[in-house]
Amino acid sequence: MTPTAVREGLLLCECCYQLNRRTAGVERPACARCGMGLHPRYPGSIARTWAFWLAAVILYVPANLMPVIESSTPFDTRTDTILSGVIHLWTTGSMFLAAIVFTASIVIPAAKLGSLALLLVQAQRRSTWRPDQRAKLYRATHYIGRWSMVDIYVGAVLVAMVQLKAFASIVPGPGALYFAGVVILTMMASMSFDPRLTWDAVDAP
């Protein structure tokens, strides 16, 4: 049986990684070194992660259906959603850019929502299925999520550069706001998920 901090009556600080001894009768233990509150596992990890996850799923709909960018020239006005923007890039010959935007804005958010749901369901069911693979999935989810914000920054730079009075202008669309919300909420969801829950079922099935 693997010795764990919890089993040995120790609490690991989530901020400075100091091991603290658990003392009976202390209502709100804090790290002796950095003062951060101590918990054996993140408090309410599963409920909080689901809450951020659900909020992200709700915003995911308008984020993908509403236009994220509007570009106008004297001749026409284009409004693009994330997907139509990717298709436009692809058909106008920028396959590489289309691939970057498609990965960051469509594949990563969807994969992140899917893998968080998988991690949550299995933690709730106390599944002992392939904990090492789930640990890798968690790590990937946690580190890659921030890159989805790239489309927001593409928009920000384009909006700043293309304000050429009568000639051309680019402004954000309402979808951009929802999309930024999705990215922030999925980041908060993966921060709220305690990866140790994956191993707790292995330790005490």
């Binding site: 921030r146 920054y153 050429l164």
Partner: protein
């Protein structure tokens, strides 16, 4: 059970004995494979040097244009702050705030808090408000997204070259330099050695 030579894996809670590392070594959790710690010599000096360089370069990144464009006889250019201002002016204050925080305010705060923490330790005393500094750094770190911004700026650069002649401004290079330096600072930072230094100074 003594705890001073034990470490718990932050990702799976497995308790294990701390092992001495050879030069270039990495200690990984025996159970889940998460990286526990890594051989990082002269951590205080190296981290501090990278943070100081990153601060200088990031000030420069905020002082020059990112991109310049000419089309139909009209020239436009933007700076980091210019992207925030134009989002505000086109009626998107929330997006402006998001870019302001993630690309300017939080990165500056990361640098300032790191300096407030490391400079006193280098000079031989423990900074006041140590706990607040450490916990602030821990809380804000994931929200600085300059490297994601750089990718976004490069994507928009390529898109703009299709419609007009675009010149890369100095700030784009400085942003790249800042990212390399921050990555080097993170790679040089060993929180266990820093805490040992703090404990030495307190004695």
């Amino acid at each position: 059970m003594k705890t001073n030579n034990l470490v718990a894996c932050p990702e799976c809670d497995a308790l294990q004995r701390e092992v001495p590392l050879v030069a270039g070594g990495v200690a990984a959790c025996f159970r889940c494979g998460a990286e526990l710690f890594r051989f990082k010599p002269d951590t205080l000096d190296r981290t501090l040097s990278w943070i100081i360089s990153a601060t200088v370069v990031f000030v420069a990144a905020n002082s020059f244009p990112l991109l310049e464009l000419e089309a139909q006889g009209i020239r436009t250019s933007t700076t980091l702050m210019g992207t925030v201002v134009s989002l505000q002016e086109t009626g998107w204050p929330t997006l402006a705030l998001l870019v302001l925080l993630s690309v300017i305010v939080i990165p500056f705060l990361q640098l300032a808090v790191s300096l407030a923490l490391l400079v006193p330790l280098k000079l031989g005393f423990v900074p006041r408000g140590l706990r607040l500094l450490v916990r602030t750094l821990d809380a804000i770190w994931p929200w600085g997204m300059v490297e994601v911004f750089l990718l976004g700026a490069l994507v928009s650069l390529v898109r703009l070259t299709q419609i007009a002649s675009v010149e890369i401004g100095w700030a784009l290079y400085f942003v790249g330099g800042y990212i390399v330096m921050i990555a080097a600072a993170v790679a040089a930072f060993d929180s266990r050695a820093i805490w040992r230094r703090i404990e030495e100074l307190r004695r």
